[in-house]
């Protein structure tokens, strides 16, 4: 053990000797700290915003083939949002949620209810874009709908959390899994709820079309913002930028939450529930807030994804998706926003086009005929197992989480279900 550590530090010092750009470093240090701190995020955000413009000039990546399309980029950004939302629950508060897809579904269906011709008996219009003013159904501006979806999902999170958060970790995981399985079933059977004939979710066909995002005629005239994402020529770019703005908002909230009083309470609960309770952290309230916050971002992501795909279908909300998002969090590093961003982007890319590209590449070069996307969920399974066995802290771990995995935590929670309080 110690010999490898020595070798590693030797190697490190050699590298740093050969790669020491002393002069540049000294110049860099003279800059004020705020400038230095803001430099990297600014560059990354600028690169992300300009991606649709320079994408076509980028060379192919070996094995992976073409760089992701802007379309895939939108999906990646939305999945990254969901991963960050789940990271609040799993990474910060240490509550394993296997039913995160329920919040995603909640958001998607909220968008479908309030911005589509689904409800035929009502005529409510509130700032929707690109809709015939006489069309039936709720047509609320998609920006408002996204916020409402977040709030409704957060409420759903609180409702699910209140009875269940008393449970111990693995039981909680199973209960959330149960909710995650019930949700799509309600979506699938919701076209005739309890025999009353009330069509809530339009059953297996799903609800479409959902109104497109847009800024309307006034803002278009004054600021040149696109009136309707679907009718402008480079609409996909606007979808991309909007997703990016939403993601930045999510990341900002997530980081600020982590450093807030609430976030520190989450981490305290994760590390040792008993000690946290002894220090006066209200367990139930703190955990419920973690659920609500995670659900909020899941709902926003779900609503925006529904608007992007212009429809929502019950088959999109299977357990697989919950595990897929969990996989992103674990691959990137539980609790670390930057790691989760990388993990989420990479896996969403693999899922969207990466696996197909890799399959083509392999089949072309080796003359085989393997259908690589068929192995998709096996690959995610392997990622889960390998990461947990060999690098439980994730590829880009948070310092704190890493220490917990190495030293262990007091994992015996206070409200242990097997010691029922009235028993």
């Amino acid at each position: 053990m110690s010999s490898t550590a020595n070798r590693r530090s030797e190697w490190r010092s050699q590298v740093s000797e050969t790669l020491r750009f002393d002069a540049i470093r000294a110049q860099w240090r003279r800059l004020p700290r705020r400038v230095r701190g803001a430099a990297l995020p600014t560059i990354v955000i600028a690169l992300a915003f300009l991606y649709p413009y320079y994408r076509t000039w980028l060379p192919d990546i070996p094995i992976f083939g073409d760089v992701p399309t802007v379309d895939t980029g939108v999906t990646m950004l939305i999945y990254m949002m969901m991963a960050i939302g789940l990271n609040i629950v799993v990474g910060y508060a240490g509550l394993l949620d296997l039913g995160y897809v329920a919040f995603y579904a909640m958001g998607a269906y909220t968008a479908a209810w309030f911005a589509s011709p689904h409800f035929e008996n009502v005529h409510v219009h509130a700032g929707a874009i690109g809709v015939n003013p006489k069309a039936a159904g709720f047509h609320v501006s998609i920006w408002l709908v996204v916020v409402v979806a977040g709030i409704l999902s957060a409420i759903a999170g609180i409702l699910i959390g209140l009875p269940t958060l008393r449970l111990r970790g693995d039981y909680l995981a199973i209960v959330t899994l149960g909710f995650g399985e019930i949700m799509p079933q309600i979506a699938r059977n919701g076209d005739n709820l309890f025999g009353t004939g009330f069509n809530l979710t339009n059953g297996a066909q799903g609800i479409n079309p959902i109104d497109p995002p847009g800024f309307g005629a006034t803002l278009n005239r004054w600021l040149g913002l696109p009136e309707d994402f679907l009718t402008v020529s480079n609409g996909i770019n606007f979808f991309y930028w909007t997703a990016l703005v939403l993601l930045l908002f999510t990341v900002f909230c997530s980081v600020r939450l982590r450093d807030s009083r609430l976030g520190r309470a989450w981490i305290a609960i994760r590390e040792d529930e008993t000690a946290a309770a002894a220090m006066g952290v209200p367990l139930m309230r703190t955990k419920t807030w973690a659920y609500a916050a995670g659900a909020f971002f899941g709902g926003i992501a779900g609503a925006y994804y529904a608007a992007f795909k212009s429809g929502t279908f019950p088959d999109d909300f299977f357990f697989n998706i919950s595990v897929f998002i969990l996989c992103m969090v674990i691959l990137g590093g539980m609790g670390n926003v930057w790691g989760v961003l990388v993990g989420g982007g990479f896996l969403a890319y693999l899922n969207q086009e990466g696996l197909g590209n890799i399959g083509q590449e392999i089949n072309k070069n080796l003359g085989t005929n393997i259908d690589v996307p068929l192995y998709q969920f096996g690959i995610f399974g392997v990622i889960l197992v390998v990461m947990m066995l060999f690098r439980p802290q994730g590829l880009i771990p948070s310092e704190r989480r890493k220490m917990e995995f190495e030293e262990g935590v007091a994992d015996e929670p206070l409200y242990d279900v097997r010691h029922a309080p009235d028993g």
């Binding site: 394993l96 096996g378 066995l389 309080p421």
Partner: protein, 351 residues
């Protein structure tokens, strides 16, 4: 365990809810359930008997799978998500064997010896598979935070599902029907067929043998000791690793037997069937009191009866669209309000 000392008092509202209102709600639910069953029985007795017989048969299979969850949970406190998928692979192996051996339901003694041979093969296969999973995916994580092995279990479950998908494709694999389906006896015009009886005739001896193994043998004693306190049993000279491996071996064997019965009785199997049935069986194990072996079988029966009645009865029944939701609702309600299950004891060390 020191949990006794550091248990914090619940808020009074919560305690009052737990103390009075919750049992009342529970009693109300049970009363409604009984009312529903009785009304349906009076309206359509024949249908009721038919569904009851189906439910009991399915319940035996669920019980066998649930026993595997219960055994593993009892000893490691781990929800072995991969268990249902081990069962599924067992079923697929049986499907392959029935086709390769070219079995048909008219071959008499040859057929029965072949079924016994298949039983041995599939039990051995699943037992070895389950032990290997423990060795590879869970053993290293024995001292890790509790959620770590749960996450690897989900990963293993996905891997096994993918193996099933690649092996047999996304469509259900049909198994040639080789069990005799003649009538044993008839109640109220409803025939009880041999295939259902055979499922029971397989399950009951397995359960008895398992109970004897756990309660009467040295190995069973080692299992109970390990479940109660791993460190103390290691100090008493019990080989903890071997005992845990043995438990996984037995659980895998049960999954294999269930896979054989399922494939032969239901006569088709799909790659995601294991996951679905695994969740049902886990619910059964929780309903019966997880870690409690007779409880697992009882839970299997209860869940299977509810499922079958819900699929088939006509009066005030949600119908098969909602079966899955109802089962999960039961799981959630039991976990939240009576986590020790129907037969579980309220003791800290309850295995």
């Amino acid at each position: 365990m020191v949990t006794q000392a550091r248990r914090a008092p619940l808020p009074t509202v919560g305690r009052r809810l737990q103390g009075r209102i919750m049992p009342a709600i529970g009693a109300l639910l049970v009363a409604l359930l009984v009312l529903w069953l009785v009304v349906n029985f009076i309206k359509t007795p024949a249908e009721f008997y038919r569904l009851f017989l189906i439910g009991v048969t399915n319940g035996a299979i669920y019980g066998l799978v649930a026993l595997g969850y219960s055994l593993v949970y009892g000893i490691l406190e781990l929800i072995n998500f991969a268990h249902g998928d081990v069962f599924m692979l067992g079923g697929m192996l049986v499907a392959t064997m029935v086709t390769t051996f070219g079995l048909a339901d008219d071959s008499g003694l040859v057929l029965w010896s072949m079924i016994l041979l298949m039983l041995v093969i599939v039990m051995a296969f699943c037992a070895v598979l389950n032990t290997t999973i423990e060795l590879v995916a869970y053993r290293r994580l024995r001292h890790a935070p509790r959620l770590a092995p749960l996450i690897t279990a989900i990963g293993v479950s996905f891997i096994l599902q993918n193996i099933g998908l690649v092996w047999k494709g996304p469509r259900p694999t049909s198994v040639p029907s080789i069990l005799p389906r003649g009538t044993v006896f008839t109640i109220a015009g409803v025939p009880y067929t041999w295939d259902k009886l055979i499922v029971l005739l397989f399950t009951v001896p397995v359960l008895v043998a398992l109970l004897l193994l756990v309660q009467r043998t040295r190995q069973g004693k080692a299992m109970r000791a390990t479940a109660q306190d791993r460190d103390a049993s290691a100090m008493m000279g019990i080989n903890v690793n071997r005992t845990i491996s043995f438990t996984f071996f037995i659980a895998g064997g049960l999954a294999g037997a269930a896979g054989l019965l399922y494939a032969l009785y239901i006569t088709n199997i799909r790659y995601d069937e294991g996951f679905r049935l695994g969740l049902i069986a886990f619910t059964a194990a929780v309903v019966g009191g997880i870690g409690n072996l007779p409880g697992a079988v009882l839970g299997g029966l209860v869940i299977a009866l509810i499922e079958s009645f819900n699929n088939g009865l006509s009066w005030a029944t949600p119908g098969s669209d909602w079966t899955q939701s109802i089962i999960f609702a039961i799981l959630i309600i039991i976990l939240v309000f009576r986590p020790e299950g129907l037969l579980g004891e309220r003791t800290p060390e309850g295995v």
